[in-house]
Symmetry: C2
Subunit: 148 residues, 2 copies
DNA sequence: AATTTTACTTGCGAATTGCAAGTAACCCTT
DNA sequence: AAGGGTTACTTGCAATTCGCAAGTAAAATT
């Protein structure tokens, strides 16, 4: 529990899980403006506690991709519940209705999230975080809903 | 999400929800040793964001009981998932097996937790936190399990 | 009336954080 | 193959926050 007792660790995990961020630069530019020394420190700590791990990208030796370990993937329920709570009680801009839809399909969404992280598919969980205009679908959540 | 971005807020909420703590003094003596000025500040912040509220005890004008609002009660799933994650991946002393039992009865445990908080019954959710020797049962979790 | 209990403040040194700048390795272009 | 750009950090310092010890005020107990 003490791993999340700071301003940034939870936000980094959210970016990792919900948005599809992987690299130092992506986290750094993630809106809230984390200082680079703090970001480096938090990534180290999360790695030291076995929640994430770093791997150098094969095609580009500069880039380090941060990914969730199994221990990190197991935090998915926590993050999802936080997302749901935020959607219900805070104004999170858009995507409230989508998140609250997810609540009904909690187990399916979690299974899909876990599956995607295991096979290193880091498509954003929420479409509002897919701002690059590629139009990728955000996790097939609608499809999941219908397939019950 | 930024409400929990510090070392103590989550711990206070855990004490409030899982242990049955209500008063300033209980939080202060809660093991980890929070400074009184920080505790006062965090209680104020949690109250300002509508997660808890303070009420003076009727029978003793000195005591202030901190209680969860509906918004705070809605954080129960997050805390439960954190508890489960901790039981699985960290050494939490005792009660690991009990917490992992709760995972199977997630909905029942949550319903019971919400019910108890609504009617202001602050019996500790976990027996390891009932150290006063009164021998009160810790939330009837066994009973819940059998009543499926 | 005096002491104790409870819930806080206040002041100050210590630790943490944020900001700006710098560095090193790697890639890409010419 | 040399220069410039990109990525992932580190370093130094100022500003904020935190932690500790002590103090205060109101209510209860003796």
């Amino acid at each position: 529990m003490e791993h999340f007792g700071d301003r940034w660790s939870l936000l980094i995990l959210r970016d990792l899980m919900v948005r599809g961020y992987k690299t130092f630069k992506e986290f750094q530019q993630s809106g809230e403006g984390i200082a680079t020394n703090i970001l480096a420190n938090r990534l180290q700590r999360l790695e030291a506690t076995g929640i994430i791990f770093a791997e150098v990208e094969a095609t580009d030796g500069r880039k380090v991709n941060y990914r969730l370990t199994e221990k990190g993937i197991d935090l998915a329920p926590v993050l999802l519940d936080l997302l749901i709570w935020g959607a219900r009680h805070e104004e999170t801009g858009a995507s409230c209705t989508l998140v609250l839809e997810m609540e009904k399909n909690r187990e399916e969404v979690l299974a899909e999230t876990r599956r995607r992280w295991r096979e290193r598919d880091s498509t954003p969980l929420l479409p509002s975080f897919d701002k690059d205009g590629t139009g990728r679908k955000p996790a097939r959540t609608q499809r999941i809903e219908k397939s019950r």
